[in-house]
Symmetry: D2
Subunit: 232 residues, 4 copies
């Protein structure tokens, strides 16, 4: 278990030094539209989290009732969280109906696809690897969120998704690590959880890269951007 | 909604007059092995109920967060209920590990297959049709359970599955009908729920027919029965 | 393998003595509408045959390339066969677009659901049990088709589905039995194939019962029939 | 259609200038183990191609019989192609049973996951985007294969996978583009196919990056490599 935590820490440090979104934020080279694009992509992948979490429990080859209950309980808690991202987006002045939402970026779709795949195939426990860092990311992430909030002068009502998830953090993370501790019994279980942790963290960092690229494209040439409507 | 309730009532009446298990019980032509076979088949299909319930919520085409939460909450509540059937079976003296369990009867597999199918395809709400009668069946069913209990002189500890479900009845049924009321908005929704209610009730009655047939086969020629181990 | 053939034969004999559609035909108590209802239900389940056949090969747990090729080849051959049933229906004077087709009967849906379930779960080879009788059924079935043809004075162009399948019969059946012979290596394989053969044959016979019931309902009270449009 | 071809061309050019495997080959900084790692990863994702191709045709929401037949025909042709990669690997002296194969790299798993996802959800036609470049890649790829062959002094029997696919190229590519031309009828279809083409090409390039990284790791420290067995 410590091995998984260490691997996640090393991967985070890698991302924090090399990710293009991190650099953009550090250099203060962004405005509200960067945050808005990020919220749109967050909306997209978050809207699948409860579903792939439930699928992990509903697998025909899952005979582990304790783990099944964990999955359904977690799915219940995550259901509808994407609506907070949508709410925040609206609070920044974007008045878009769901039907008009731009399609998720390739990077976002890849993350979504990977999560469905590992939730429905392979080691039963592997989705725990996603929760292992996602429910415990605010220690790494909060600093950047504060910079974004400060620079964009965001109100709490415009950051409900991140504030809410920051608050849920402690209890959820404990629940996740408690489940890993009690259910992961073999080296194969640990390896599967670790692999999914590192891969999903990498794919989530790629979403940030995609958001940065699209933000820069929007500034460069809004006519070629799927987020053109963010310009006013 | 009243239409669905009426259709279920009519179908129950049909079953109560024609089902072979009902006749067996009425005529007192059964012993403990009938109850044991029934518990085994109940174990089988019940072990899928939480899963297909969760799948109904996890569908990619489900955009209804309220209904999604209902599905995951219900799945959470149903997870592991098959263990009560297993417990009761053990309390009647059958000491079988899961690996040695006889394969589900064709009728049981058909019910399981149908539930997965309607949970993952067609009208999003249709699985509510299964819960509509299953969570509300004790009014029709209890009478027979009492006869079984009396004749076989069963202890409460040997009937935990049915007692528990009888107790859960009221609140669950209210939750189901409340969800139907609030979520089923079109004639197509109502028709889909009604169809699944009637078909699953019919398929569940066919499981009872199968249990009766297998019980009679066991008496007739245990060497040709998959339940031979129930003879002592 | 002989065991499977024998079991199928016994099940057919059972159906030929007890099925309500068989009795209806024997007694000459039907008209064109009976054939039309049957074509509609045949259209419904046939439109899934190529799909569930392909799914049987595409399973993640299928490592058997020979069997995979069999599945995809067979799926390719079966694709679009439902259009022949549709063609025949139109040739009898029913001019219905697919959108206006009545929903499949509960019995038809149950057969469809079961075929998807056994194609995607359980023993990899089990769908061979369906093909084992379905591709070899004309020896049992042809007699009744001839009676239907004679009584209704049907043209060949109105029976393309059955004539075509009768012709395909021999080569397909050989392919199926050859695959069973070469791929089914364990007692578990044989048992799974046999079980699916008997269950799908039973469920297909239930479709015939459903067709008979609906035909009688249509005569009794067309206003309560989903096939009311067959009356002229 | 020309738009898709142009987009693929631009993406290829991008990959050919920036991909780490391309640079490694250009600089002649590789030995047999690079090719072997590549064959292993090729084996992994290729073993899913026939399956996700079949799934694209077997979708319940696919009503297009022409496209269904294309999918099953293609799946049939692709079934077992991974065995050629395995054969080539063995011909280079690696004598590994499938059970001992190292798990696919995260990049390979991501490609596999994405292909299953787009084959089973979203626009029915989108998997054509993968075939659009994969069946037509030898014009871009062959040059590098020749360099690899020359440098490693590979025999034809050690390159059957690529030679075979090079040969299949023309007819397959025509079949794919013919299907795109006849089936893709809306702007949404074209956009979906284009998106999947570009994303899968990107993900396949990431597999090459992964292969390069793992090759360099193997040289640097075989004890930390999952491909340690390639050292002799």
């Amino acid at each position: 278990m410590e091995r998984i935590k260490d691997s996640i820490k090393i991967k985070w440090e890698e991302i924090l030094t090399s990710n293009s979104a991190v650099q953009l934020i550090e250099k203060d080279e962004f405005d509200l539209r960067f945050y808005q694009i990020y919220l749109i992509e967050t909306f997209h992948y978050t809207s699948h989290n409860a579903k792939n979490q439930a699928l992990a429990g509903a697998r025909l080859d899952n005979k582990n009732v304790h783990y099944m209950k964990y999955c359904f309980k977690h799915a219940l808690e995550e259901a509808g969280h994407e609506l907070m991202a949508l709410h925040d987006l609206r609070q920044t002045g974007v008045d878009l109906t769901l039907e008009k939402f731009p399609h998720p970026l390739p990077e976002t779709q890849t993350l979504i696809a990977y999560l469905y795949h590992i939730s429905t195939t392979g080691n039963i426990l592997s989705r725990l690897g996603y929760s292992a860092w996602a429910e415990d990311s605010y220690q790494y992430f909060m600093d950047f969120l504060m910079k974004i909030q400060k620079r964009l002068n965001l109100q709490k009502s415009q950051m409900s998704f991140f504030i809410e998830h920051g608050d849920l953090d402690d209890s959820h993370a404990q629940h996740v690590w408690g489940t890993i501790k009690s259910q992961a019994k073999t080296e194969l279980d640990i390896t599967a959880i670790e692999e999914v942790a590192l891969t999903t963290l990498e794919l989530a960092a790629a979403v940030l890269d995609g958001v940065t690229r699209e933000y820069q494209q929007l500034i460069l040439d809004p006519t070629k951007s799927r987020y053109f409507f963010l310009n006013k």
